[in-house]
Protein backbone atom coordinates (compact mmCIF):
# COMPACT_ATOMS: atom_id res chain seq x y z
CA UNK A 1 0.00 0.00 0.00
CA UNK A 2 2.66 2.45 1.01
CA UNK A 3 4.61 1.77 -2.13
CA UNK A 4 1.54 2.50 -4.16
CA UNK A 5 1.12 5.87 -2.55
CA UNK A 6 4.76 6.70 -3.08
CA UNK A 7 4.64 5.72 -6.73
CA UNK A 8 1.44 7.67 -7.20
CA UNK A 9 2.82 10.76 -5.56
CA UNK A 10 5.95 10.62 -7.68
CA UNK A 11 3.89 10.28 -10.82
CA UNK A 12 1.68 13.20 -9.93
CA UNK A 13 4.51 15.44 -8.91
CA UNK A 14 6.59 14.63 -11.97
CA UNK A 15 3.65 15.50 -14.19
CA UNK A 16 3.14 18.66 -12.22
CA UNK A 17 6.70 19.83 -12.45
CA UNK A 18 6.63 19.65 -16.20
CA UNK A 19 4.08 22.39 -16.17
CA UNK A 20 5.82 24.54 -13.59
CA UNK A 21 6.90 28.12 -13.77
CA UNK A 22 5.25 31.40 -12.81
CA UNK A 23 6.88 34.83 -12.82
CA UNK A 24 6.13 38.36 -11.66
CA UNK A 25 6.21 41.79 -13.33
CA UNK A 26 3.81 44.08 -15.15
CA UNK A 27 0.62 42.40 -16.14
CA UNK A 28 -2.23 42.63 -18.60
CA UNK A 29 -5.46 40.68 -18.17
CA UNK A 30 -6.87 39.67 -21.52
CA UNK A 31 -10.21 37.90 -22.05
CA UNK A 32 -10.63 36.47 -25.49
CA UNK A 33 -12.46 33.77 -27.47
CA UNK A 34 -11.06 30.27 -27.27
CA UNK A 35 -8.18 29.61 -29.67
CA UNK A 36 -8.37 33.15 -30.97
CA UNK A 37 -4.78 34.26 -30.70
CA UNK A 38 -1.41 32.81 -31.57
CA UNK A 39 0.33 32.11 -28.23
CA UNK A 40 3.57 33.25 -29.84
CA UNK A 41 2.10 36.73 -30.19
CA UNK A 42 1.78 36.96 -26.43
CA UNK A 43 5.34 35.75 -26.00
CA UNK A 44 6.61 38.35 -28.46
CA UNK A 45 4.72 41.09 -26.64
CA UNK A 46 6.29 40.07 -23.40
CA UNK A 47 9.77 40.08 -24.94
CA UNK A 48 9.24 43.51 -26.41
CA UNK A 49 7.58 45.25 -23.49
CA UNK A 50 8.17 43.05 -20.48
CA UNK A 51 4.43 42.95 -19.84
CA UNK A 52 3.10 39.54 -18.91
CA UNK A 53 -0.26 38.68 -20.37
CA UNK A 54 -2.66 36.79 -18.17
CA UNK A 55 -4.83 35.16 -20.77
CA UNK A 56 -8.33 33.85 -20.25
CA UNK A 57 -10.77 32.41 -22.72
CA UNK A 58 -14.53 32.40 -23.09
CA UNK A 59 -16.91 30.52 -25.29
CA UNK A 60 -19.79 32.91 -25.85
CA UNK A 61 -20.52 36.59 -25.39
CA UNK A 62 -23.25 35.62 -22.94
CA UNK A 63 -20.76 33.79 -20.78
CA UNK A 64 -18.36 36.74 -20.76
CA UNK A 65 -20.95 39.41 -20.07
CA UNK A 66 -22.01 38.54 -16.49
CA UNK A 67 -18.40 38.43 -15.37
CA UNK A 68 -17.89 42.00 -16.52
CA UNK A 69 -21.29 43.23 -15.46
CA UNK A 70 -21.07 41.90 -11.91
CA UNK A 71 -17.47 43.04 -11.64
CA UNK A 72 -16.60 39.51 -10.59
CA UNK A 73 -13.27 39.75 -12.37
CA UNK A 74 -11.26 42.72 -13.58
CA UNK A 75 -10.02 42.33 -17.11
CA UNK A 76 -8.06 44.97 -18.97
CA UNK A 77 -8.89 43.92 -22.50
CA UNK A 78 -11.82 41.96 -23.89
CA UNK A 79 -12.82 40.87 -27.38
CA UNK A 80 -16.64 40.80 -27.58
CA UNK A 81 -18.75 40.69 -30.73
CA UNK A 82 -20.53 43.63 -32.31
CA UNK A 83 -23.92 43.54 -30.60
CA UNK A 84 -22.39 42.80 -27.23
CA UNK A 85 -20.15 45.86 -27.57
CA UNK A 86 -23.21 47.96 -28.21
CA UNK A 87 -24.91 46.50 -25.15
CA UNK A 88 -21.92 47.00 -22.88
CA UNK A 89 -21.24 50.53 -24.11
CA UNK A 90 -24.87 51.36 -23.56
CA UNK A 91 -24.60 50.18 -19.95
CA UNK A 92 -21.49 52.24 -19.34
CA UNK A 93 -19.23 49.25 -18.93
CA UNK A 94 -16.55 50.38 -21.39
CA UNK A 95 -13.80 52.99 -21.44
CA UNK A 96 -13.15 55.16 -24.43
CA UNK A 97 -9.92 54.19 -26.07
CA UNK A 98 -7.17 56.77 -26.21
CA UNK A 99 -6.19 56.43 -29.84
CA UNK A 100 -3.00 58.45 -29.29
CA UNK A 101 -1.71 55.20 -27.88
CA UNK A 102 -2.88 53.21 -30.89
CA UNK A 103 -1.19 54.76 -33.95
CA UNK A 104 -1.34 51.43 -35.78
CA UNK A 105 -5.08 51.91 -36.16
CA UNK A 106 -4.17 53.33 -39.56
CA UNK A 107 -3.77 49.79 -40.84
CA UNK A 108 -7.38 48.85 -40.10
CA UNK A 109 -9.62 48.72 -43.16
CA UNK A 110 -11.79 51.88 -43.18
CA UNK A 111 -14.77 49.93 -44.56
CA UNK A 112 -14.74 47.83 -41.45
CA UNK A 113 -14.42 50.85 -39.22
CA UNK A 114 -17.48 52.17 -40.99
CA UNK A 115 -19.39 48.94 -40.45
CA UNK A 116 -18.35 49.12 -36.81
CA UNK A 117 -20.25 52.36 -36.44
CA UNK A 118 -23.45 50.28 -36.55
CA UNK A 119 -22.74 49.18 -33.01
CA UNK A 120 -20.03 51.64 -31.96
CA UNK A 121 -20.94 55.08 -33.34
CA UNK A 122 -17.82 57.17 -33.68
CA UNK A 123 -15.58 54.15 -33.12
CA UNK A 124 -14.96 55.32 -29.58
CA UNK A 125 -14.82 52.04 -27.75
CA UNK A 126 -13.59 49.37 -30.12
CA UNK A 127 -10.83 48.32 -32.50
CA UNK A 128 -11.69 45.51 -34.93
CA UNK A 129 -9.71 42.30 -34.48
CA UNK A 130 -11.34 39.66 -36.63
CA UNK A 131 -14.40 39.56 -38.79
CA UNK A 132 -16.30 37.42 -41.19
CA UNK A 133 -19.58 36.49 -42.70
CA UNK A 134 -22.21 33.88 -41.99
CA UNK A 135 -22.94 31.57 -44.88
CA UNK A 136 -23.69 28.10 -46.17
CA UNK A 137 -20.99 25.47 -46.35
CA UNK A 138 -21.98 22.68 -48.67
CA UNK A 139 -20.51 19.52 -50.08
CA UNK A 140 -20.42 19.72 -53.87
CA UNK A 141 -20.80 16.00 -54.25
CA UNK A 142 -23.89 15.80 -52.09
CA UNK A 143 -26.05 18.55 -53.60
CA UNK A 144 -27.63 19.21 -57.03
CA UNK A 145 -25.62 22.06 -58.41
CA UNK A 146 -24.24 25.19 -56.78
CA UNK A 147 -26.16 26.55 -53.82
CA UNK A 148 -26.92 30.24 -53.65
CA UNK A 149 -29.94 30.61 -51.41
CA UNK A 150 -30.87 30.03 -47.78
CA UNK A 151 -33.80 28.09 -49.23
CA UNK A 152 -31.55 25.07 -49.61
CA UNK A 153 -31.56 24.69 -45.85
CA UNK A 154 -35.33 24.42 -45.85
CA UNK A 155 -35.52 22.07 -48.81
CA UNK A 156 -37.13 18.66 -48.31
CA UNK A 157 -34.73 16.90 -50.63
CA UNK A 158 -31.90 17.48 -48.17
CA UNK A 159 -33.83 16.16 -45.21
CA UNK A 160 -31.56 14.69 -42.56
CA UNK A 161 -28.56 16.21 -44.27
CA UNK A 162 -28.83 19.74 -42.96
CA UNK A 163 -26.77 21.14 -40.11
CA UNK A 164 -28.45 24.20 -38.69
CA UNK A 165 -26.64 26.66 -36.47
CA UNK A 166 -27.29 26.38 -32.75
CA UNK A 167 -27.29 30.07 -31.95
CA UNK A 168 -30.43 32.15 -31.55
CA UNK A 169 -29.47 35.32 -33.43
CA UNK A 170 -27.70 33.45 -36.24
CA UNK A 171 -30.56 30.99 -36.73
CA UNK A 172 -33.09 33.78 -36.87
CA UNK A 173 -30.82 35.73 -39.21
CA UNK A 174 -31.02 32.82 -41.63
CA UNK A 175 -34.81 32.63 -41.42
CA UNK A 176 -35.40 36.39 -41.48
CA UNK A 177 -33.10 36.96 -44.45
CA UNK A 178 -34.75 34.13 -46.33
CA UNK A 179 -38.11 35.79 -45.74
CA UNK A 180 -36.67 39.11 -46.86
CA UNK A 181 -36.69 40.82 -43.49
CA UNK A 182 -34.05 42.72 -41.54
CA UNK A 183 -32.06 40.49 -39.23
CA UNK A 184 -32.28 43.16 -36.55
CA UNK A 185 -36.05 43.29 -36.65
CA UNK A 186 -38.04 43.88 -33.52
CA UNK A 187 -41.36 43.14 -35.14
CA UNK A 188 -43.11 40.27 -33.43
CA UNK A 189 -45.07 39.53 -36.58
CA UNK A 190 -41.90 39.04 -38.59
CA UNK A 191 -40.35 36.97 -35.85
CA UNK A 192 -43.38 34.73 -35.73
CA UNK A 193 -43.04 34.05 -39.42
CA UNK A 194 -39.38 33.22 -38.96
CA UNK A 195 -40.22 30.98 -36.04
CA UNK A 196 -42.79 29.19 -38.17
CA UNK A 197 -40.39 28.27 -40.94
CA UNK A 198 -37.76 27.23 -38.41
CA UNK A 199 -40.27 24.88 -36.87
CA UNK A 200 -41.08 23.40 -40.26
CA UNK A 201 -37.35 22.94 -40.73
CA UNK A 202 -36.91 21.00 -37.48
CA UNK A 203 -37.58 17.50 -38.89
CA UNK A 204 -35.20 18.19 -41.76
CA UNK A 205 -32.36 19.16 -39.46
CA UNK A 206 -29.76 16.53 -38.70
CA UNK A 207 -28.40 18.48 -35.77
CA UNK A 208 -28.13 21.97 -34.34
CA UNK A 209 -24.44 22.67 -34.02
CA UNK A 210 -21.97 25.48 -33.77
CA UNK A 211 -18.43 24.15 -33.66
CA UNK A 212 -19.19 20.54 -34.48
CA UNK A 213 -20.21 21.67 -37.97
CA UNK A 214 -16.59 21.67 -39.08
CA UNK A 215 -15.75 18.08 -38.34
CA UNK A 216 -19.15 16.87 -39.51
CA UNK A 217 -18.85 18.60 -42.87
CA UNK A 218 -15.26 17.43 -43.28
CA UNK A 219 -16.36 13.87 -42.61
CA UNK A 220 -19.18 14.09 -45.12
CA UNK A 221 -21.75 13.55 -42.42
CA UNK A 222 -24.09 16.17 -43.92
CA UNK A 223 -24.61 17.94 -47.23
CA UNK A 224 -25.21 21.47 -45.96
CA UNK A 225 -24.28 23.47 -42.92
CA UNK A 226 -24.26 27.01 -41.61
CA UNK A 227 -20.81 28.25 -40.80
CA UNK A 228 -18.70 31.32 -40.20
CA UNK A 229 -16.41 32.27 -43.07
CA UNK A 230 -13.31 31.89 -40.91
CA UNK A 231 -14.03 28.22 -40.34
CA UNK A 232 -14.87 27.63 -43.98
CA UNK A 233 -11.27 28.05 -45.11
CA UNK A 234 -10.07 25.47 -42.62
CA UNK A 235 -12.72 22.95 -43.68
CA UNK A 236 -11.91 23.41 -47.35
CA UNK A 237 -8.30 22.56 -46.64
CA UNK A 238 -9.35 19.34 -45.01
CA UNK A 239 -12.02 18.45 -47.56
CA UNK A 240 -11.74 19.99 -51.02
CA UNK A 241 -15.32 19.05 -51.90
CA UNK A 242 -16.61 21.83 -49.67
CA UNK A 243 -17.79 25.18 -50.96
CA UNK A 244 -18.83 28.33 -49.11
CA UNK A 245 -21.38 30.88 -50.22
CA UNK A 246 -22.98 34.01 -48.80
CA UNK A 247 -26.56 33.53 -50.02
CA UNK A 248 -28.19 36.00 -52.37
CA UNK A 249 -30.83 37.02 -49.85
CA UNK A 250 -28.09 38.51 -47.72
CA UNK A 251 -26.51 37.55 -44.45
CA UNK A 252 -24.74 38.69 -41.33
CA UNK A 253 -21.32 40.26 -41.12
CA UNK A 254 -19.83 39.92 -37.69
CA UNK A 255 -16.95 41.81 -36.17
CA UNK A 256 -15.06 40.91 -33.00
CA UNK A 257 -13.31 43.93 -31.57
CA UNK A 258 -11.10 44.82 -28.67
CA UNK A 259 -12.63 46.91 -25.90
CA UNK A 260 -11.35 48.12 -22.55
CA UNK A 261 -13.72 47.74 -19.61
CA UNK A 262 -14.22 50.67 -17.24
CA UNK A 263 -12.79 48.73 -14.31
CA UNK A 264 -9.56 47.86 -16.09
CA UNK A 265 -6.48 48.19 -13.90
CA UNK A 266 -3.92 48.47 -16.69
CA UNK A 267 -5.57 50.64 -19.34
CA UNK A 268 -2.34 51.88 -20.86
CA UNK A 269 -0.90 48.41 -21.16
CA UNK A 270 -4.14 47.41 -22.85
CA UNK A 271 -3.78 50.19 -25.41
CA UNK A 272 -0.18 49.18 -25.96
CA UNK A 273 -1.29 45.65 -26.71
CA UNK A 274 -4.03 46.76 -29.08
CA UNK A 275 -1.42 48.76 -30.94
CA UNK A 276 0.86 45.73 -30.98
CA UNK A 277 -1.90 43.57 -32.43
CA UNK A 278 -2.50 46.12 -35.20
CA UNK A 279 1.10 45.82 -36.33
CA UNK A 280 0.80 44.14 -39.75
CA UNK A 281 3.39 41.46 -38.94
CA UNK A 282 1.53 40.50 -35.78
CA UNK A 283 -1.87 40.68 -37.46
CA UNK A 284 -0.56 38.35 -40.15
CA UNK A 285 0.64 35.87 -37.52
CA UNK A 286 -2.76 35.85 -35.92
CA UNK A 287 -4.52 35.53 -39.23
CA UNK A 288 -2.53 32.43 -40.04
CA UNK A 289 -3.25 30.96 -36.67
CA UNK A 290 -7.00 31.54 -36.43
CA UNK A 291 -7.82 31.72 -40.16
CA UNK A 292 -10.55 34.30 -39.49
CA UNK A 293 -10.42 37.34 -41.76
CA UNK A 294 -8.16 40.10 -40.56
CA UNK A 295 -9.27 43.76 -40.79
CA UNK A 296 -5.63 44.76 -41.24
CA UNK A 297 -5.13 45.88 -44.86
CA UNK A 298 -1.34 45.79 -44.70
CA UNK A 299 -1.35 42.31 -43.19
CA UNK A 300 -3.56 41.17 -46.01
CA UNK A 301 -1.05 42.46 -48.55
CA UNK A 302 1.62 40.43 -46.82
CA UNK A 303 -0.20 37.13 -47.23
CA UNK A 304 1.97 34.88 -49.35
CA UNK A 305 -0.61 32.41 -50.55
CA UNK A 306 -2.29 34.16 -53.49
CA UNK A 307 -5.33 31.95 -53.27
CA UNK A 308 -5.94 33.01 -49.70
CA UNK A 309 -5.02 36.66 -50.27
CA UNK A 310 -7.69 36.94 -52.90
CA UNK A 311 -10.07 34.44 -51.42
CA UNK A 312 -13.66 35.59 -51.81
CA UNK A 313 -14.41 33.72 -48.61
CA UNK A 314 -11.84 35.41 -46.43
CA UNK A 315 -12.08 38.77 -48.16
CA UNK A 316 -15.48 39.07 -49.84
CA UNK A 317 -15.96 41.72 -52.47
CA UNK A 318 -18.02 44.91 -52.20
CA UNK A 319 -21.05 43.32 -53.80
CA UNK A 320 -21.18 40.50 -51.28
CA UNK A 321 -20.52 42.78 -48.35
CA UNK A 322 -23.25 45.14 -49.42
CA UNK A 323 -25.86 42.52 -48.71
CA UNK A 324 -24.57 41.79 -45.21
CA UNK A 325 -25.60 43.48 -41.98
CA UNK A 326 -24.05 43.50 -38.53
CA UNK A 327 -26.05 42.50 -35.48
CA UNK A 328 -27.35 45.16 -33.17
CA UNK A 329 -28.26 44.77 -29.55
CA UNK A 330 -32.03 44.83 -29.46
CA UNK A 331 -32.65 45.45 -25.80
CA UNK A 332 -33.51 42.99 -23.06
CA UNK A 333 -37.14 42.42 -23.90
CA UNK A 334 -36.68 41.81 -27.60
CA UNK A 335 -33.66 39.60 -27.02
CA UNK A 336 -35.71 37.56 -24.54
CA UNK A 337 -38.42 37.22 -27.15
CA UNK A 338 -35.91 35.84 -29.65
CA UNK A 339 -34.67 33.33 -27.07
CA UNK A 340 -38.17 32.21 -26.18
CA UNK A 341 -39.07 31.58 -29.79
CA UNK A 342 -35.82 29.77 -30.39
CA UNK A 343 -36.36 27.47 -27.43
CA UNK A 344 -39.79 26.75 -28.79
CA UNK A 345 -38.31 25.75 -32.13
CA UNK A 346 -35.70 23.44 -30.65
CA UNK A 347 -38.11 21.83 -28.21
CA UNK A 348 -40.32 20.94 -31.12
CA UNK A 349 -43.53 21.73 -29.29
CA UNK A 350 -46.57 21.19 -31.48
Amino acid sequence: MKKLILLFAIMVLSFAFIGCGKDEGEKLYVYNWGEYMDPEVRELFKKETGIEIVYEEFETNEEMYPKIKTNAVQYDLICPSDYMIQKMAGEGLLSEINFDNVPNIKYIDPTLLESSETFDPGNKYSVPYAWGTLGILYNRTMVDGPIDSWGALFDDKYAGNILMIDSVRDAFAVALKYLGYDLNTTSEKELNEAQAILKVQYPLVQAYVVDQVRDKMIGGEAALGVIYSGEAIYTQRENPDLEYVVPKEGSNVWIDSWVIPKNAQNKENAEKFINFLCDPKIALMNFEYITYSTPNTEARNMIEDEAIKNSPIAFPDEETLSRTTAFQYLGEEVEAMYVEKWNDVKSNIE
Binding site: V12, G34, Y36, Y55, V210, I218
Partner: protein, 262 residues
Protein backbone atom coordinates in the same frame (compact mmCIF):
# COMPACT_ATOMS: atom_id res chain seq x y z
CA UNK B 1 -18.65 -24.71 -19.53
CA UNK B 2 -21.00 -22.81 -21.80
CA UNK B 3 -21.87 -20.64 -18.87
CA UNK B 4 -18.22 -19.77 -18.36
CA UNK B 5 -17.77 -18.81 -22.00
CA UNK B 6 -20.90 -16.72 -21.89
CA UNK B 7 -19.71 -14.99 -18.72
CA UNK B 8 -16.33 -14.19 -20.23
CA UNK B 9 -18.02 -12.91 -23.39
CA UNK B 10 -20.33 -10.68 -21.37
CA UNK B 11 -17.47 -9.16 -19.40
CA UNK B 12 -15.63 -8.62 -22.66
CA UNK B 13 -18.54 -6.81 -24.28
CA UNK B 14 -18.98 -4.50 -21.33
CA UNK B 15 -15.28 -3.71 -21.23
CA UNK B 16 -15.30 -3.05 -24.96
CA UNK B 17 -18.22 -0.70 -24.47
CA UNK B 18 -16.45 1.15 -21.68
CA UNK B 19 -13.16 1.44 -23.50
CA UNK B 20 -14.27 1.99 -27.10
CA UNK B 21 -14.17 5.80 -26.99
CA UNK B 22 -10.84 5.63 -25.21
CA UNK B 23 -9.37 3.62 -28.04
CA UNK B 24 -10.70 6.23 -30.44
CA UNK B 25 -9.03 9.01 -28.49
CA UNK B 26 -5.76 7.14 -28.39
CA UNK B 27 -6.02 6.66 -32.13
CA UNK B 28 -6.74 10.36 -32.68
CA UNK B 29 -3.62 11.29 -30.72
CA UNK B 30 -1.56 9.83 -33.56
CA UNK B 31 -3.68 11.43 -36.29
CA UNK B 32 -1.83 13.83 -38.55
CA UNK B 33 -5.06 15.64 -39.40
CA UNK B 34 -6.37 18.10 -36.85
CA UNK B 35 -9.91 17.06 -37.63
CA UNK B 36 -11.39 14.07 -35.84
CA UNK B 37 -13.38 13.29 -38.96
CA UNK B 38 -10.56 12.12 -41.10
CA UNK B 39 -7.38 10.16 -40.81
CA UNK B 40 -4.37 12.05 -42.08
CA UNK B 41 -1.65 9.56 -41.37
CA UNK B 42 0.34 8.41 -38.39
CA UNK B 43 2.48 10.85 -36.43
CA UNK B 44 4.07 11.52 -33.06
CA UNK B 45 3.97 15.23 -33.79
CA UNK B 46 1.30 16.09 -31.23
CA UNK B 47 3.22 14.43 -28.44
CA UNK B 48 6.16 16.67 -29.15
CA UNK B 49 3.97 19.73 -29.48
CA UNK B 50 2.28 18.90 -26.20
CA UNK B 51 5.32 19.55 -24.06
CA UNK B 52 5.97 22.85 -25.80
CA UNK B 53 2.45 24.10 -25.15
CA UNK B 54 2.58 26.24 -22.04
CA UNK B 55 -1.15 26.71 -21.74
CA UNK B 56 -1.88 23.01 -21.66
CA UNK B 57 1.00 22.31 -19.32
CA UNK B 58 -0.23 24.98 -16.93
CA UNK B 59 -3.71 23.53 -17.06
CA UNK B 60 -2.28 20.09 -16.32
CA UNK B 61 -0.31 21.43 -13.37
CA UNK B 62 -3.38 23.18 -11.98
CA UNK B 63 -5.57 20.13 -12.48
CA UNK B 64 -3.18 17.81 -10.67
CA UNK B 65 -2.49 20.16 -7.79
CA UNK B 66 -6.17 20.84 -7.21
CA UNK B 67 -7.01 17.16 -7.42
CA UNK B 68 -4.23 16.23 -5.02
CA UNK B 69 -4.88 18.97 -2.47
CA UNK B 70 -8.65 18.73 -2.53
CA UNK B 71 -8.55 14.94 -2.24
CA UNK B 72 -6.06 15.14 0.63
CA UNK B 73 -7.95 17.77 2.59
CA UNK B 74 -11.28 16.08 1.86
CA UNK B 75 -9.85 12.79 3.08
CA UNK B 76 -8.71 14.26 6.36
CA UNK B 77 -11.93 16.14 7.04
CA UNK B 78 -14.05 13.29 5.74
CA UNK B 79 -12.36 10.54 7.69
CA UNK B 80 -12.59 12.52 10.89
CA UNK B 81 -16.24 13.22 10.15
CA UNK B 82 -16.99 9.58 9.37
CA UNK B 83 -15.50 8.46 12.66
CA UNK B 84 -17.46 11.09 14.52
CA UNK B 85 -20.75 10.41 12.76
CA UNK B 86 -20.32 6.72 13.31
CA UNK B 87 -20.26 7.32 17.05
CA UNK B 88 -23.38 9.46 17.12
CA UNK B 89 -26.89 8.56 18.05
CA UNK B 90 -29.38 7.78 15.33
CA UNK B 91 -30.93 11.21 14.85
CA UNK B 92 -27.83 13.40 14.50
CA UNK B 93 -26.36 10.62 12.41
CA UNK B 94 -29.27 10.58 9.98
CA UNK B 95 -29.26 14.35 9.67
CA UNK B 96 -25.55 14.53 8.96
CA UNK B 97 -25.66 11.67 6.48
CA UNK B 98 -28.56 13.41 4.79
CA UNK B 99 -26.53 16.58 4.42
CA UNK B 100 -23.61 14.51 3.16
CA UNK B 101 -25.77 13.25 0.33
CA UNK B 102 -26.82 16.72 -0.80
CA UNK B 103 -23.87 17.46 -3.15
CA UNK B 104 -24.36 14.08 -4.75
CA UNK B 105 -28.07 14.53 -5.23
CA UNK B 106 -27.82 18.04 -6.52
CA UNK B 107 -27.12 18.63 -10.16
CA UNK B 108 -23.50 19.66 -10.43
CA UNK B 109 -24.63 22.79 -12.19
CA UNK B 110 -26.60 23.76 -9.10
CA UNK B 111 -23.64 23.02 -6.79
CA UNK B 112 -21.33 25.02 -9.03
CA UNK B 113 -23.62 27.99 -9.33
CA UNK B 114 -24.56 28.07 -5.67
CA UNK B 115 -20.88 28.21 -4.78
CA UNK B 116 -20.29 30.96 -7.31
CA UNK B 117 -23.20 32.92 -5.87
CA UNK B 118 -21.81 32.75 -2.38
CA UNK B 119 -18.31 33.75 -3.47
CA UNK B 120 -19.73 36.72 -5.33
CA UNK B 121 -21.91 37.63 -2.37
CA UNK B 122 -18.91 37.57 -0.05
CA UNK B 123 -17.00 39.59 -2.66
CA UNK B 124 -14.39 36.90 -2.66
CA UNK B 125 -12.36 37.02 -5.84
CA UNK B 126 -12.67 33.89 -7.88
CA UNK B 127 -9.38 32.20 -8.44
CA UNK B 128 -7.41 29.13 -7.48
CA UNK B 129 -8.70 28.97 -3.91
CA UNK B 130 -12.34 29.20 -4.88
CA UNK B 131 -11.92 26.21 -7.16
CA UNK B 132 -10.06 24.35 -4.44
CA UNK B 133 -12.82 25.01 -1.93
CA UNK B 134 -15.43 23.85 -4.42
CA UNK B 135 -13.55 20.63 -5.11
CA UNK B 136 -13.08 19.86 -1.45
CA UNK B 137 -16.79 20.43 -0.96
CA UNK B 138 -17.92 17.85 -3.45
CA UNK B 139 -15.14 15.45 -2.53
CA UNK B 140 -15.83 15.11 1.19
CA UNK B 141 -19.07 13.12 0.73
CA UNK B 142 -17.25 10.55 -1.40
CA UNK B 143 -14.65 10.10 1.32
CA UNK B 144 -17.24 9.74 4.06
CA UNK B 145 -19.20 7.21 2.04
CA UNK B 146 -16.03 5.20 1.42
CA UNK B 147 -14.86 5.17 4.99
CA UNK B 148 -18.20 4.53 6.68
CA UNK B 149 -18.66 0.91 5.59
CA UNK B 150 -15.19 0.07 6.87
CA UNK B 151 -15.95 1.72 10.18
CA UNK B 152 -19.12 -0.30 10.52
CA UNK B 153 -17.17 -3.49 10.03
CA UNK B 154 -14.81 -2.56 12.81
CA UNK B 155 -14.86 -4.19 16.12
CA UNK B 156 -15.09 -1.35 18.65
CA UNK B 157 -13.77 -3.61 21.33
CA UNK B 158 -10.26 -3.58 19.95
CA UNK B 159 -10.13 0.15 20.44
CA UNK B 160 -11.37 -0.15 24.01
CA UNK B 161 -8.90 -2.91 24.61
CA UNK B 162 -6.07 -0.71 23.46
CA UNK B 163 -7.24 2.05 25.79
CA UNK B 164 -7.46 -0.42 28.64
CA UNK B 165 -3.92 -1.51 27.96
CA UNK B 166 -2.77 2.06 28.51
CA UNK B 167 -2.66 3.55 25.02
CA UNK B 168 -3.64 7.18 24.52
CA UNK B 169 -6.64 7.66 22.23
CA UNK B 170 -4.46 9.13 19.51
CA UNK B 171 -1.96 6.27 19.63
CA UNK B 172 -4.75 3.74 19.70
CA UNK B 173 -6.31 5.41 16.69
CA UNK B 174 -3.18 5.23 14.60
CA UNK B 175 -2.29 1.68 15.59
CA UNK B 176 -5.68 0.05 15.79
CA UNK B 177 -8.36 1.98 13.91
CA UNK B 178 -6.48 3.47 11.01
CA UNK B 179 -4.93 0.26 9.70
CA UNK B 180 -8.36 -1.37 9.57
CA UNK B 181 -10.15 1.48 7.84
CA UNK B 182 -7.16 2.28 5.67
CA UNK B 183 -8.51 0.61 2.52
CA UNK B 184 -11.62 2.75 2.85
CA UNK B 185 -9.57 5.87 3.37
CA UNK B 186 -7.41 5.13 0.36
CA UNK B 187 -10.39 4.36 -1.85
CA UNK B 188 -12.02 7.55 -0.69
CA UNK B 189 -8.90 9.49 -1.56
CA UNK B 190 -8.60 7.86 -4.95
CA UNK B 191 -12.25 8.39 -5.77
CA UNK B 192 -12.06 12.03 -4.68
CA UNK B 193 -8.95 12.51 -6.80
CA UNK B 194 -10.64 11.02 -9.86
CA UNK B 195 -13.82 13.06 -9.44
CA UNK B 196 -11.78 16.20 -9.07
CA UNK B 197 -9.73 15.39 -12.15
CA UNK B 198 -12.71 15.04 -14.41
CA UNK B 199 -14.91 17.81 -13.05
CA UNK B 200 -15.95 20.47 -15.47
CA UNK B 201 -19.21 22.14 -14.49
CA UNK B 202 -18.32 23.09 -10.92
CA UNK B 203 -14.83 24.26 -11.86
CA UNK B 204 -16.28 26.30 -14.69
CA UNK B 205 -18.42 28.37 -12.37
CA UNK B 206 -15.94 28.85 -9.57
CA UNK B 207 -12.72 29.64 -11.35
CA UNK B 208 -11.11 33.00 -11.95
CA UNK B 209 -8.86 34.21 -14.74
CA UNK B 210 -5.54 32.49 -15.28
CA UNK B 211 -6.96 29.36 -13.72
CA UNK B 212 -7.64 26.56 -16.11
CA UNK B 213 -8.00 22.89 -15.49
CA UNK B 214 -7.76 20.43 -18.33
CA UNK B 215 -11.55 20.17 -18.39
CA UNK B 216 -12.14 23.88 -18.74
CA UNK B 217 -9.32 24.17 -21.27
CA UNK B 218 -10.88 21.46 -23.42
CA UNK B 219 -14.23 23.21 -23.19
CA UNK B 220 -12.76 26.43 -24.58
CA UNK B 221 -11.21 24.45 -27.40
CA UNK B 222 -14.41 22.74 -28.48
CA UNK B 223 -15.46 25.85 -30.37
CA UNK B 224 -12.41 26.07 -32.57
CA UNK B 225 -11.57 22.41 -32.56
CA UNK B 226 -9.95 20.30 -29.91
CA UNK B 227 -6.20 20.53 -30.15
CA UNK B 228 -4.77 17.11 -30.90
CA UNK B 229 -2.22 17.79 -28.13
CA UNK B 230 -5.14 17.16 -25.78
CA UNK B 231 -5.63 13.70 -27.21
CA UNK B 232 -1.93 13.06 -26.73
CA UNK B 233 -2.06 14.26 -23.15
CA UNK B 234 -5.12 12.16 -22.37
CA UNK B 235 -3.44 9.12 -23.84
CA UNK B 236 -0.32 9.69 -21.75
CA UNK B 237 -2.28 10.12 -18.54
CA UNK B 238 -4.33 7.05 -19.26
CA UNK B 239 -1.27 5.00 -20.09
CA UNK B 240 0.47 6.09 -16.91
CA UNK B 241 -2.39 5.05 -14.68
CA UNK B 242 -2.86 1.80 -16.57
CA UNK B 243 0.82 1.02 -16.10
CA UNK B 244 0.56 1.76 -12.38
CA UNK B 245 -2.41 -0.54 -12.12
CA UNK B 246 -0.61 -3.39 -13.81
CA UNK B 247 2.43 -2.92 -11.61
CA UNK B 248 0.33 -2.94 -8.45
CA UNK B 249 -1.55 -5.99 -9.55
CA UNK B 250 1.63 -7.87 -10.31
CA UNK B 251 3.04 -6.93 -6.91
CA UNK B 252 -0.15 -8.04 -5.23
CA UNK B 253 0.05 -11.46 -6.82
CA UNK B 254 3.74 -11.81 -6.08
CA UNK B 255 3.03 -11.24 -2.41
CA UNK B 256 0.55 -14.06 -2.24
CA UNK B 257 2.80 -16.66 -3.79
CA UNK B 258 5.19 -17.53 -0.92
CA UNK B 259 2.35 -18.18 1.51
CA UNK B 260 0.57 -20.71 -0.63
CA UNK B 261 3.72 -22.60 -1.40
CA UNK B 262 3.90 -23.95 2.11
Amino acid sequence: MVKKIFERFYIGIILLFLYAPILILIGLSFNKSKSRAKWGGFTFHWYKELFKNRDIMNALYTTLIIALLSALIATIIGTAAAIAINSMKKTPRTILMGITNIPMLNADIVTGISLMLIFVALRYTLGFTSVLIAHITFNIPYVILSVMPKLRQLNPHTFEAALDLGATPVYAFFKVILPDIFPGVVSGFFLAFTMSLDDFVITHFTKGPEINTLSTKIYTEVRKGIKPEMYALSTLMFATVLLLLIIINRKGEAKKMPITKI
